[in-house]
Amino acid sequence: MIKLLEAQGICKHFGGLQALTDVSLSINKGEIYGLIGPNGAGKTTFFNVLSGAYTPDAGEFVFAGSQLPYGEAHKIVERGIARTFQNIRLFRELTALENVMVGHHTRSHAGLFGILFQRKQVREEERLVTERAYELLKYVGIERFANTVSKNLSYGDQRRLEIARALATEPQLLALDEPAAGMNATETTHLRSLIETIRHDGVTVLLIEHDVKLVMGLCDRVAVLDFGKKLVEDVPAVVQRSAAVIEAYLGGAHAA
């Protein structure tokens, strides 16, 4: 197994609240890795530290063999980590196609003068980016809404669009923050097969999720966070039987 991402002793606090305490975990290349835990366990904080939205107080991330820069989101995306948000954050006034095209930003190069003079490479790149964006919309299955302004899309389609936009950055690791939140059963099934396709196409997936059934069925390995600390990290079957996990979710009385 090749390690793609290794978190080493990540700590983060907000005022008096210790959101993450010495969290270490490692994600292997090509797996679907689940991160679960009760509300307020620090899952999203972990995501935000990883994606550069926050700077960790201590610890570091080693990604594909070298350390990740702190707190500079765009450089982390360049290195190959893409994320989605728990509460969908699309570019509301842009069309679905344009949202995905924005995702190509780091992988395209048109500069100011190239654009002002409409140099040949720039026009060619523009055509290519449009084409690729359309292909990605097709990949997640919403290509018929290419020209729809994204705020007018249905909830499920917005989730898919956000995944397409993240994929447009050509990540090695795709971090999904509660992608199934607010979805009905059919939508969740579609999402599940989409995540499996993504993994099949060579992208490692990090998944935060509340839907335990989805996580246990989909993930190769799972880590459980509680009060900012990692409880266990193992294959789903072991995690499900772990006393510490049951206690965290259901309270001490049920752990027997």
């Binding site: 006034e93 523009e126 020209n147």
Partner: protein, 367 residues
């Protein structure tokens, strides 16, 4: 251009080709018609074009990148004073326009970056207040930099600026064809300004439908998400300020050359607000709308100014409302009604930051 074509009554929707021809003809013939009423009207048209350029530049900052800028006129001032320093007897320097205009644009862009740095983290109201302060600082500098060393000549302004000489051709001198027939210099300025405006609009449109334009729109809609897809938000914001300022700087240079005189008075907060009003009135983010907004809001007050007095004397036998007061009143009313009836402007922006036709021409796609 397409946006302008669409608003032509009837033809705009039924026969775009005819509508396009009508718009083009109007643009080209307008100053000649105006000259028929009086040369003052051509002058107003010339100023209207400068306002179009300012509004198009400000639209880039406010409409595309979503950075509310209430001090935009400062860049206009930088451009105008650059012209005044480098092409007037004030310092005795007389450089040609192809040096002074780019320099003015460059200084304005630099001013844009200088403004951009401290406001990177600000948004909305806070951003508006700091930019407002910046605009005032520039004006106050112009007002007071006559002591101990006289740089700007203070409130008196700088006089006798060189007119626009385009490779030996003086735009401010009428072309005499025969003794009885000559082409007014105001007309010539109109066409020169028209060329500059056309170029600006083309450049801004290219920026809009590009990697950079999309990055700006992304920052406007959600800057956290923009960071998460790998956009360097800081650099993109600075670029937006600098690019917007560049257009302001060029317009300022042209203003100096046209007017032949600059003073801090021309760059008051009111001017910033007027340009912003043009952008909002026309439709933030929609270049066509912004052009219409600028034309309307620079024309209407002048129409009022010239007809308010005779109309009042004809109706009431006396002047009840000073035209200047009336002008502000109508301005305010126009904006209030606008906000009530069409809150997103005369021509609301429709998202267009890509060319889907490049790949979607033969694919089935919904609206």
């Amino acid at each position: 251009m397409d946006e302008l074509v669409r608003i032509v009554p009837y033809f705009g929707t039924h026969n775009p080709k005819v509508a396009r021809a009508i718009v083009l003809a109007l643009i080209l013939v307008a100053p000649i018609l105006a000259l028929g009423i009086g040369p003052a009207w051509v002058r107003i048209l010339d100023f209207a074009l400068l306002y179009v350029m300012l509004a198009v530049g400000l639209n880039l900052v406010v409409g595309f990148a979503g950075l509310l800028d209430l001090g935009y006129i400062a860049f206009y001032a930088v451009g105008a004073y650059t012209w005044a320093f480098l092409a007037s007897p004030h310092f005795g320097v007389h450089l040609p326009f192809w040096i002074v205009l780019p320099l003015g644009a460059g200084f304005a862009a630099l001013a844009g970056v200088i403004l951009g740095f401290p406001v990177l983290r600000l948004r909305g109201d806070y951003l508006a207040i700091v930019t407002l302060g910046f605009g005032e600082i520039v004006r106050i500098f112009m007002n007071n930099l006559n002591h101990p060393i006289n740089i700007t000549n203070g409130p008196q302004g700088i006089n006798m600026l060189d007119s626009l000489h385009i490779f030996g051709w003086d735009v401010s001198r009428r072309i005499v064809i025969t003794d009885s027939f000559s082409i007014n210099s105001l007309l010539l300025y109109y066409y020169v300004f028209l060329a500059f405006v056309t170029l600006s609009v083309i450049l801004v449109q290219r920026l809009q439908v590009s990697r950079i334009g999309r990055a700006w729109a992304a920052i406007r809609d959600d800057d956290l998400a923009a960071k998460a897809v790998g956009i360097n938000v800081r650099n993109c914001k600075l670029l937006a300020f600098a690019m917007g300022a560049t257009f302001g700087g060029v317009a300022g240079g042209l203003f100096g050359a046209f007017q032949g005189f600059v003073s801090p008075e021309s760059f008051s907060l009111m001017e910033s607000i007027i340009v912003l009003a043009m952008v909002v009135f026309g439709g933030m983010g929609n270049i066509g709308g912004v052009i219409i907004g600028a034309l309307l809001l620079s024309w209407l007050p002048e129409v009022l100014r010239s007809y308010a007095v005779p109309m009042q004397t004809a109706l009431f036998g006396q002047v009840l409302l000073d035209p200047e007061i009336l002008r502000m009143l109508v301005y305010a009313l126009a904006l209030i009604f606008m906000m009530l009836l069409r809150p997103s402007g005369l021509m609301p922006a429709h998202s267009r930051y890509s060319r889907p036709d490049l790949v979607l021409a033969n694919k089935r796609v919904g609206p």
